[in-house]
């Protein structure tokens, strides 16, 4: 089998392939150099301006101070505990939003009377700034974790459902004809053609949702909570420890980026047949 495959594939001479690979590697290295240079210039400039102009660290702390705070917070302080708390809210909120978004999206896309009854509301709610519901949700569901998870679900749910509907409705008509001609009923067509065809869209929605879920959790914590990184920022702010606030902010950014990266990795595994980055974030 392996031998067959090898003999069947056209042999390209190794020389041009190697040059192509080398060129690609060089281009990637150039990208990295550009990114790192920007970082060095911005952070270095920030540090220099703060020191030269002697700006008070209550207004704008220098990067060196922020990094120190970050290290302290992680090693000696409460960052790790609060991080765990916020992550739990984020992941839980994301999971619920993903599940509800995909299941309800499928129902809306596939069942006509549900679509008629519900779709206009989804479109209308899409433009409502859901995050503004956070104060209300905290009053309704208390200062514990529940209210934060609900805020996270509220903001993360819409991109998932909107993209799921969009993806399912955009399935190539020829594919549906193809599977129907084989005698597939609606469920078979959904399972074997529509859902896989919609996956690139669904992942675009999930990608937006995971970052929004983190946002929801932190904003929920701002509205009143006993723990979490949002709570940590409030505490630092109340004692004018701006460097501390910045440190938490950096931590949040790193987490957001890592969550996004994780999702892209899963997407590349699941939707391996396409590298097209699909459509609207719906956020």
């Amino acid at each position: 089998m392996t031998a067959d495959l090898a003999s069947a594939s056209p042999r390209t001479s190794p020389a041009p392939r190697r040059t192509a690979r080398r060129t690609a590697r060089r281009a990637r290295r150039a990208d990295w150099i550009a990114v790192v240079s920007t970082f060095v210039v911005v952070v270095g400039g920030w540090e220099a301006v703060v020191r030269i102009a002697d700006i008070s660290s209550i207004v704008l702390p220098p990067p060196s101070l922020i990094v120190g705070k970050l290290y302290d917070g992680l090693v000696h302080g409460t960052f790790v505990k609060n991080l765990g708390y916020t992550m739990a809210e984020t992941v839980l909120g994301f999971a619920i939003a993903a599940f509800l978004g995909i299941v309800l999206g499928a129902l809306v896309a596939e069942i006509r009377w549900i679509r008629r009854a519900v779709y206009p509301y989804i479109v209308a709610f899409q433009t409502v700034p859901k995050i503004a519901l956070a104060p209300l949700l905290v009053i309704w569901f208390g200062f514990g974790m529940t209210s934060k998870v609900i805020v996270a679900v509220t903001v993360a749910f819409f991109p998932v459902i909107v993209n799921t509907i969009e993806g399912l409705q955009n399935t190539d008509h020829q594919r549906i004809d193809m599977i129907r001609a084989m005698g597939a009923g609606r469920f078979e067509a959904f399972r074997r053609v529509k859902l896989p065809s919609a996956l690139p869209y669904i992942f675009a929605g999930l990608d937006a949702a995971i970052v929004l879920s983190l946002l929801g959790a932190v904003v929920g914590e701002f509205m009143g909570s006993r723990a979490g990184l949002g709570n940590q920022i409030l505490i630092f702010n109340s004692v004018l420890d701006i460097a501390g606030s910045f440190a938490v902010l950096i931590l949040l950014s790193i987490i957001g980026f890592l969550l996004h990266l994780l999702l892209v990795m899963v997407q590349k595994k699941v939707v391996f047949w396409t590298n097209v980055h699909a459509v609207s974030s719906g956020a």
Partner: protein, 272 residues
Amino acid sequence: MRTAASEPAQAGQRHDEQLISIRGATLAYPTASGDPVQALNPIDLDIRAEAFVSLVGPSGCGKSTLLKILAGLLHQSEGEVTLDGRPLTGPSPNVGVVFQQPVLLPWLTILNNVLLPIRVQKRNVDEYRQRAMDLLAMVGLEGFESRYPSELSGGMQQRVGIVRALVPDPQILLMDEPFGALDALTREQLNDDLQTIWAEQRKTVFFITHSIPEAVYLSDRVLVMSERPGRVIADFEVDIPRPRSLEDVSLPEFVELTGRIRRLLNAKGGID
């Protein structure tokens, strides 16, 4: 196999051995603007079992539309279509379709793509795996079973589409310009393969093509369709003995028949 309420074939009226029977079928596509597009004028057509029938006609005349009606994907606006004496109400596992584009699923390997109808029809996959491998080998795709469609050329993908229609061994094969995207050499080879499959497995083939020589070479009958809204304006019998070989294209009967069809189409505004 069909679950549709089956009316008994109208006694006496049933033409002996007519597998497919179309009576006054028309089709109008609804459009957003409200004015429906009349794609087919009344079509009357009988196809007997095991016949190889080709359909040629200008682009946009309604060939694919007629094929989709036979595939059970579209329902005629008026008239009646029967398959084996029973009104056609939807797709049948007894009909295999090869579309104008290969329409493979990019997340399935080649083998799983061609086994898709077996899975959809809830048949036993193990019983068909060897047949699938043999058919892939027959069209020159041995060793590509575990590749993905994106790793294949357009022509190779089209061959996979043909194999997929053949794997469940349907009685009727509907083919919509299956070789349109292929180079001349591959096309000739596949024409030969198709002739062999047809001769060995006794399938009824309804074959749409843009190539008049291809239609004549393969068929028992060549139907010619008018411009949209399409109707069948001519029905030629091809009497060249089988099995046919590539040399037969220079036979006087062959040249004469292709010439007549071409003149007919040119008079009607030409093919394409």
